[in-house]
């Protein structure tokens, strides 16, 4: 059997995607008020571990980056760093209206208003803040996307790196980070 045969590649993809979607190790970057929604999501009331969601300790081990709320430019720098340290395939979930259009911080002098200008976001969950039910729904949506092979934020980031970098450097003037050369 040829490994690089198209059909067998498809089968391998299906199996891999099935495993990936059932094993989402999250790195909850606790910015903003969304961090407080994570404990009820993980503990016995809502129990996200049913879906294979589990906390990861470091970005090296994680699959999903949760941005739980508004991002100041100072935090954005760290978030970009964390995202670049994660291993492919990796996904980003944006929580709440702050990551979508700035939310209640829309006119703040140091908060970004649209996360997907700076990082490729796979799933947005709206709400201010989204309740755990909405978070679970977001995870379910991400699983759907992964199974369909559409959750390819990492590839998008790689291909449009220059655009993303230009946006990032616009809000972070003092850019001092290792190269991202994948």
């Amino acid at each position: 059997m040829m490994i690089n045969d198209k059909n067998s590649q498809k089968i391998v993809d299906i199996i891999q995607n099935y495993a990936r979607k059932h094993s989402l190790w999250i790195l909850a970057y606790g910015t903003g008020c969304g961090a407080i929604e994570i404990p009820p999501t993980m503990t016995s009331r809502y129990d996200a571990e049913r879906l294979g969601v589990r906390g990861a300790a470091t970005p090296r081990q994680a699959d999903v980056l949760l941005i739980t709320g508004y991002l100041t430019t100072k935090t954005l720098k760290r978030v970009i760093r964390v995202y670049e340290q994660m291993q492919d395939p990796k996904y980003v979930i944006g929580f709440g209206s702050c990551t979508i259009n700035g939310g209640m911080y829309w006119d703040s002098y140091n908060t970004i208003k649209a996360l997907d200008r700076y990082l490729p976001v796979d799933v947005f969950i709206n709400g201010c803040m989204p309740r755990p039910e909405a978070v679970l729904a977001g995870f379910a949506k991400l699983q759907e996307l992964i199974q369909a092979g559409k959750a390819d934020g990492a590839r998008k980031y790689k291909e449009n790196l220059e655009w993303y970098r230009a946006n990032q450097k616009k809000v972070i003037p003092n850019w001092r980070m290792p190269e991202y050369n994948w």
């Binding site: 970057y29 760290r78 760093r81 340290q85 290792p178 050369n181 994948w182």
Partner: protein
Amino acid sequence: MNMIYIVFIVLLGGALLTFFANRISGLLRDTFFLLTILATTVLFFTKIHIGDTVSFTLAGLNLKWGLDAFGWYFSLIVLGLGTMAAFYALSYMKGKDRLGYFYFSFLISILSMLGILMSHDLVSFFIFWEVMTWSSYLIVIYSGRNVQKNGINYILLSALGAYAMLTAIVMVYANIHTLSISEMINTYPQFSHVQQVWLPVLFLMAFSVKAAMMPLHVWAPGAYSDAPMAYTSVFSGALSKMGIYGMVIVFVSMISYLPDDTLFKETFAWLGAITAILGTLWAIAQDDARKLLAYSSIAQLGYIITGVAVGTDLAMLSALFLAALHALFKGTLFMAVGAIERQTGTVKFTEVTGLIRKMPWTFIASLLAIIALAGIPPLGGFVGKWMLYESLINSNHYILVIAIFFASTAAFLYCYKFLFGFFLGQEEKEWENVKEAPALMVLPMLILAAGTLVLGTFPGILLKPADAAMQTLGYASTEGHLWSMSILFNEWGDQVLLRPLVYAIAGTFLFFLIILTVKGWKNTRYVSTKDISSSGEVPLEYENLTFSVNFYQPFLRAVGPVMKKRMIYYYREFGSGMEALFDYSRRIYNGNGQTYAIYVMIFLVIILLFKNSIFG
């Protein structure tokens, strides 16, 4: 002329030539030094055969020198390590001053060690022993650091041992009117019981000082770390083995004849185990690599002493095996520390980090040596440890097994500290321009480290001479029932094949290494040690993130009660107590003539009263 003379003349003459050549040119001095040690090694292993003896009379004393298999085994250690250390020293000592002095002392100490191994009479044994002490003392004070503290400690305890040995020699001469060692051993069973006990005690005192056994070890950390590392590898690897050499003879040929020999053996086995435990614990607490290795040497010699003291054939075999192996790995490690000291200028774990990419060969040599030290298969250290455990269990020393096992498990801690402290961790900008040590320094290390690797797979190479040595001591040949080439025997079972195990380990390792390397080869990247997941923060160049201060604090807290006081503290207490006592007794000289008259009176009265019992 006998070849034994020639070896000694070559060594002595070479030493003197080296010393005087220093005034002419450095190159000439180095050439003489290297030629001397090489010529000695070649002559020794080609021309001198086991059983050669030579005797002569000097000032009315019959002196006899000769070589037996036991001495040959130890001279293997001395000359093997000595040659390697000589090559290393050439590069390590380059650019330092008073090199003639150093090389002279180096060669003389090699000469004295060979002399000890070849002495068949007590006088030359004692003389060579003293020459060894003094030549090593000269090197300990070579650097000029801490001479007051470490040099004095060393020479005082060595003198204590020498006096003990001298007393024993006088005792022997008073009894049998000869100074031959074999005569002493032969007539030993006819000595009175008091002498039978005191003789080994006095001898063991002298030997324990050199082997750095527990209450007499206080000189070792300072002396080992103060001598130049080129010599410390010989100091710790070979010179301390002279103590083991003497101990083996005392235990085998004297203490075995005692009616209460088990007490002796148990005591010394336990002293060895306690030495191992405390040496290990103190090694864990050190931040200075030289001190760490010095304490580790004390601990390793503790295992060997335990093996010697237990004294069954397997235990003795393991002790001899470990003695040679200790020379290999400890020699390597001291050389590695020397290389790091030379390249970076410091030996503190808290200062140097991340040298693995700068000094890869030093790292490989240290890694092999550390694995051997820790006793992890498939390297040679495991064979020695395995034999030691088997022998201890076979001879019903159950608690001792646990003590030894504790020491060797705790040894992993300082093993890791050594490797991590120097080679792993953050690669700092400060050490960016460090280069690998010169080839002359790296090659001896690699050769010695490769020795441990070979001995792990083919321990028979070393077990054969060890067996011959033991037969000289009167053990039955272990070849039939304990070992043959790389097959170890367990007395309770059948044979152990080490080679398949080693091959299995190597095969599995390679298999998974290939899997790891090949899988996703294109998408695997090397990133620098500044690219770590530290909460999204990018460490700046000057930010040192290495964890090296208080490295084993939780462990040391757990074992804290044992380590409250150091042995040297008790010596100091004893010293100040004695001072106070003498200070008190000085008061009899109060400067009053009347009092002195009374003293004379009292003295005369005593003499008159007891004259019968004194002169009678």
